[in-house]
């Protein structure tokens, strides 16, 4: 099959997609929040040694979470993975709660019981689930989407996962079921070219991920995941197809991890040239340039925004530090309900 590559749009089309200066600046700001948040997390691990355990940063992929989630309605339900800080913020979860969860504090999204890999779980904001097991969120998202369809709700589920997930049995069984059941499900594969140290083509036998997805009779598109507008537009198109057909749609967003797999990974397995090339396509810089070229914002305003965001991030650290840890005796109350 021929793969559909979704392209960027011209400013004259902005309105058609509910975009305008204000909206775009808010998208930018959300990306910046993720960027600064993750940089702080990295510092808390590596420089300050305050945080520990596994943590998977979203640096470099910000355009995907923000592009997808801002294009969808707030009530869209989300299922994601251990690399979930970006999705959490883009879904509107309070940064304080997210940071507190990373600190294992009782004020965190999961009361400190989930930790970094589940920190986005926050049903209050439609963030239903985050799994640390590669691929396992997909069948769950299919069932969640079935529940929407069954109850006749005008809503959809968005499910994020990585390129590595495509090779799991859960992916296969999940996509097959999604296609058979025709559920309102947006499958977003963040193809950052690596699963830990494994380059995507070393683990994937098909021509492309979108190609594999298409073999389930699911409409599949390839998107430049570092270009927020492409992601946004693709999501809008996908949403339309999903609603019209009550059917799943698949987006393969091509992107790149700025850092290692986990916070401690130095990612030495990646060729230097490759890293450099991709860093030039930093989604924040690309978007910044666009906004400046459109005269929507200037360097000074950007700087002020950045300072604001950094203060917000600092605030979240203080919030987290000052929060208590759950009492051990309370744990048993959360096993059964």
């Amino acid at each position: 099959m021929e793969l559909k590559m979704i392209k960027n749009i011209e400013p004259r089309e902005f309105e058609k997609y509910e975009l305008n200066r204000d909206r775009l600046l808010r998208l930018y700001r959300k990306m910046l929040e993720i960027r600064r948040f993750e940089e702080k997390v990295e510092e808390l691990f590596l420089v300050k040694g305050i945080l520990s355990g596994p943590s998977h940063l979203y640096l470099g992929q910000e355009a995907i979470a923000v592009g997808v989630l801002s294009a969808l309605k707030d009530e869209a339900l989300m299922v994601t993975t251990y690399r979930c800080h970006g999705h959490a913020l883009a879904k509107g979860i309070d940064m304080n709660l997210l940071m507190a969860e990373l600190f294992g504090k009782s004020t965190g999204t999961c009361k400190g019981l989930g930790g970094s890999m589940h920190a986005s779980i926050y049903p209050e904001k439609g963030s239903i689930y985050a799994t640390a097991i590669v691929g396992s969120g997909i069948p769950i998202a299919v069932g969640l989407a079935y529940s929407l369809k069954h109850q006749g709700k005008d809503n959809l589920v968005v499910c994020f996962f990585g390129d590595g997930a495509v090779n799991t049995g859960a992916f296969h069984e999940g996509l097959n079921l999604a296609a058979l059941w025709k559920v309102p499900l947006l499958l977003v594969c963040e193809n950052n070219l690596y699963a830990m140290g494994t380059k995507v083509e070393r683990a994937l036998s098909s021509k492309s991920i979108a190609d594999r997805a298409a073999s389930y009779n699911i409409e599949s598109f390839v998107v430049d995941g570092n270009d927020i507008l492409s992601v946004y537009i693709a999501t809008k198109k996908a949403e339309k197809l999903i609603k019209e057909g009550i059917t799943p749609v698949f987006l393969e967003c091509r992107t790149y991890r700025m850092k290692g797999h986990g916070v401690y990974d130095k990612a030495e397995y990646r060729p230097k040239g490759e890293v450099e090339e991709w860093l030039k396509r930093d989604p924040l810089i690309l978007f910044e340039e666009k906004l400046i070229s459109l005269n929507y914002i200037n360097k000074d305003e950007l700087k002020r925004m950045d300072e604001e965001v950094k203060r917000e991030v600092e605030g979240s650290v203080i919030f987290a530090m000052n929060s208590p840890i759950l009492d051990f005796e309370e744990l048993k109350n959360h096993v059964y309900g």
């Binding site: 689930y129 069948p139 079935y146």
Partner: protein, 326 residues
């Protein structure tokens, strides 16, 4: 028509499903062959016709997706009852059942609930060979967040399944394949059998026998035999392994001073191991004799019918072991 009717174990299960589906629109059945085929053992027969394909869903051979999508349905406000055709096939989908479903509530700080039932059955005793006869209930003692029911007769099958469907926690509901066609009295009136409440199926003063699933019947048979020799066994059917009704077991032991545990799983690391150890911890001073566990040997299940019968716990083995204490 009296207060009770005679139903097979399979029919009783079907009645439970029907009643709960009528009562609560959110109840959905999914699994392999549950619809058109009526269930591999006909438990769901007729339900597709009655409730339609939106509520009785045939799936591909995809155990991961069956349990996984059931979790999603539960998170989305439905009450899925997923069927895994043989307990052996749980070895395919334990990530979903244990690593996902049973931990979702805890690791979300108590926010998520996963009200789902996974029905399955074990086929030991049906000449199914090594790969279709496995029974490993004790594994789930290591899976906090999950309940585990083991009905031993039609009445409990119905009552426990109804109660399970109304639960707010994920439940593994393990039926016994050889019992599907066995009959028993089931009340006409609606009833629920509570999880975590054992039943004393026979009173006795001399030894406590804790038995699960099919082995409850074997224990009752053995007790009649033993009674002839003047040994009166008290037979307890805990009905659910998680939660386990320790009180009923312990107070019986405090009376009898002796304990035998019997179930169809492999003795090594089986249900009996936990119950035995628990009793040693909590009632050591009441024990007048070593605790006896009867289970299957540490061998895969042989195909040959004769060998399979020798492999399984039965009334004779219970009688023999009990008598060793006198």
């Amino acid at each position: 028509m009296g207060d009770v009717m005679e139903l097979t174990y399979a029919e009783a299960l079907r009645e439970a499903l029907r009643e709960e589906m009528i009562r609560d629109e959110r109840v959905i059945i999914l699994g392999e062959e549950v619809g058109v085929f009526g269930g591999a053992y006909k438990v769901t027969r007729g339900l597709l016709e009655e409730f339609g394909s939106k509520r009785v869903i045939d799936t591909p051979i995809s155990e991961i997706a069956i349990v996984g999508s059931a979790i999603g349905m539960a998170l989305g406000g439905l009450k899925p009852v997923a069927e895994i055709m043989y307990m052996d096939f749980l070895t395919i989908c334990l990530d979903q059942l244990i690593t996902q479903a049973s931990k979702a509530r805890f690791m979300s700080g108590g926010k998520l609930k996963v009200p789902m039932v996974v029905r399955t059955q074990y086929s030991l005793g049906r000449i199914h060979g090594s790969q279709h006869s496995q029974f490993f209930p004790s594994w789930f003692l290591q899976a906090p967040g999950l309940y585990l029911a083991l009905p031993s007769n039609p009445k409990d099958a119905k009552g426990l399944l109804k109660a399970s469907i109304r639960e707010n926690n994920p439940i593994l509901f393990v039926e016994c394949g050889v019992l599907y066609r066995s009959k028993g009295e089931v009340p006409n009136e609606e009833y629920l059998t509570p999880l975590g409440k054992a039943e004393i199926r026979r009173k006795g003063e001399d030894i406590t026998i804790v038995a699960f699933s099919r082995c409850v019947n074997e224990a009752l048979k053995a007790s009649e035999e033993l009674s002839k020799e003047g040994i009166e066994a008290e037979v307890i059917d805990p009905k659910t392994l998680i939660p386990l009704d320790k009180e009923t077991i312990l107070s019986s032991i405090k009376k009898t001073g002796r304990l035998l545990i019997v179930s169809d799983d492999i003795k090594l690391g089986g249900i009996g191991a936990e119950i035995s150890s628990m009793v040693v911890e909590e009632a050591f001073d009441y024990l007048d004799a070593p605790i006896i566990r009867i289970g299957a040997p540490f061998i895969p299940v042989p195909f040959s019918q004769k060998l399979e019968q020798e492999y399984m716990p039965n009334a004779d083995k219970i009688v023999r072991e009990v008598k060793r204490l006198w």
